[in-house]
Symmetry: C2
Subunit: 371 residues, 2 copies
């Protein structure tokens, strides 16, 4: 029998019988969208999700594993998202606890084209330590001013300088000019013989301009980009991985709707599994103790799942951001190891000298990883 | 002074002072993403959101109006969404209560290209009554079987037969063949001289296939399409309105993450304002009393806002769906008037004869609107 898409849902129900009814309602809602008995038997057999198990979860809540035919999805990411959490997302008590895709669906997705290994290859100087990322910002500066900040961060030893995710094509610093200036500034920043830093522009853009921004980034010689998939649709990740030839960092802006305690999609499934199998090489999410309320358990689970074996799918790189204090980076290295990226922005900018702040961070990270 | 983007946020705070601090944190997070004092003054003045007011909301919660410079957004819809509810979406207590766009931003957006007036023009037979919509389904049927259902619904008097939102390009009924067969079936269904029904295919698709699906729908002669903007990115609506030349119905699949009571975006803002100004001609949402828990107050507010005056922006059509019982349609006409579309699916399919079920619905609606 062909392996099926497995989705574990948690939801409220008063009894096991009620939970079984609820699971069946979800199975119908997410496929035929018709009540029981209205779909011809052979069609129902082929497309209605099957209830594989129903078990107690927490007080008043149950967990059900439903399995879906891969043919409902094929290689269609919006349809995958629809089957997993389309109409049923409107029910405020339904949360996706797990998703597991069968080989037929995984093979139709690119997964990370660069992945952890490829990312390490882009930054030979970062061997034995985490890759350091910072953001060029804020929106409102000119392209020349942003390029100066890029250069300072690169000289100070940051490996990746990415656009802040709010930089698009505003009049302050239009996309083309900004990308040209910033890429040039980063390329020329380090002394000859030292490993280069790389600049990753933000290609989050209107639907009909994404392709031209990616093309421009490529022409300028960029080796990676950042995108906010929750703003432009998750399938853009798949397309970037399949066709851009660049490393892709996924930014979590606008993802918060999916992060309810009893609603949405569990963070390790969303950030650790789905974004990875769609093609993110690095996944930015919120580190615990930063300016977003994220539990250590959730962060641990995301990190673990980004790097865990999945069939042929390359591991992706956890990118801890959202208020990573430079002073705390050694702590996070102890917790998550060196196969990470640390996105440190505000705590560098809060210091008087950006280049010096970057240099101190790089020095502290190297000393910690040597020791 | 240039008019600004106004966003009203509600959030938790223990006192007015704490609420003011919180408002300022949101203003920084949604723009410069830097702590207070780090951004050069002139840049901060140009781009950091301003706190216009902070007032008590509900117990323990406050509402703050923040205003943003239109230059942060321009005509960039993902960036609009990012400014309104990007990073701050990760804070589980923050909800968007209102959004108001200034003329500079509204003029950069198409708004509904067809709108209520244009939709009425497509269905002259529906004068004086709501436009009746049904869905062809389920996924799993062949194109020929789906076309037969289309024909039955059209003969029975349904005005718009739209693809179920779960129909994409599955092997059961590939997009091209399905759209050709269904369009043909609907076109030929009514006797000569009677107003034609129209078939609206689903163009929700992978990022790099949306344009070709829209092109194919146009070639086949379709006058409208359905899309799930929450699955493919809200900017696809803007692009469809600006360039497709067809009526656009927006489907709410996967929108549920934004529908929290103290998190997300208020339904009238999301469905009634944002989807309309982006370009939806008709907005499908869940009617109260259907299979989704939606309050009458929320539905009332969405309906009102879709049709309320906004500068030059055409009114859009409320499309009540998600379990509209055929027998209850007269009740909803009394509540929402005739300038609506009613999406009736399951309750027709649950009857033995689909064509006859459609005919009964059409007859009941006409009788009610005459009476």
């Amino acid at each position: 029998m062909e392996a099926r898409i497995q989705v574990t849902y948690a939801f409220a129900a008063a009894s096991k019988e009620a939970a079984e009814v609820r699971a069946r309602e979800i199975a119908l809602e997410q496929t035929v969208e018709l009540p029981e008995g209205v779909t011809p038997d052979a069609v129902a057999e082929a497309v209605v999700a099957r209830t594989e198990s129903v078990e107690p979860h927490r007080k008043g809540r149950w967990r059900a594993v439903l399995s879906f035919a891969p043919d409902l999805v094929g290689d269609d990411v919006p349809q995958l998202l629809n089957v997993v959490y389309g109409n049923v997302s409107v029910h405020r008590d339904v949360r996706v606890l797990d998703v597991e895709l069968p080989p037929a669906v995984l093979e139709a997705l690119p997964g990370p084209a660069v992945g952890l290994g490829g990312m390490r290859g882009l930054f030979p100087a970062a061997e034995g330590r985490p890759i350091l990322v910072s953001a060029v910002k804020p929106v409102g500066l000119s392209s020349a001013e942003l390029a100066d900040r890029c250069a300072a961060l690169a000289r100070g030893g940051i490996d990746v300088i990415k656009d802040d995710h709010g930089l698009s094509d505003q009049r302050f610093a239009g996309f083309r000019r900004r990308v040209e200036r910033c890429a040039e500034a980063v390329r020329g920043a380090r002394p000859a013989g030292e490993a280069e830093a790389l600049y990753f522009p933000n290609v989050t853009a209107p639907f009909d301009r994404i392709m031209e921004r990616v093309e421009l980034a490529r022409e300028v010689g960029c080796r990676g980009v950042v995108v906010s998939p929750f703003l432009v649709g998750l399938d853009v990740l798949r397309w970037l991985a399949a066709s851009s030839g660049m490393a892709v960092l996924a930014h979590p802006a606008h993802a918060g709707g999916l992060l309810g305690a009893e609603h949405g999609i569990a963070p390790d499934v969303l950030f650790g599994y789905l974004l990875r199998v769609l093609g993110a090489d690095g996944v930015i999410f919120m580190n615990p103790g930063g300016r977003f309320a994220v539990s250590e358990a959730d962060a641990d689970a995301v990190v673990a799942r980004l790097r865990a074996p999945i069939e042929h799918v390359a591991p992706a790189v956890p990118v801890l951001g959202g208020g990573v204090d430079a002073d705390r980076v050694p702590h996070w290295i102890d917790r998550y190891g060196v196969d990470c990226m640390f996105l440190v922005g505000s705590s560098l900018y809060a210091q008087a000298d950006l280049e010096e702040a970057a240099r101190k961070l790089r020095g502290a990270v190297e000393a910690h990883c040597r020791g």
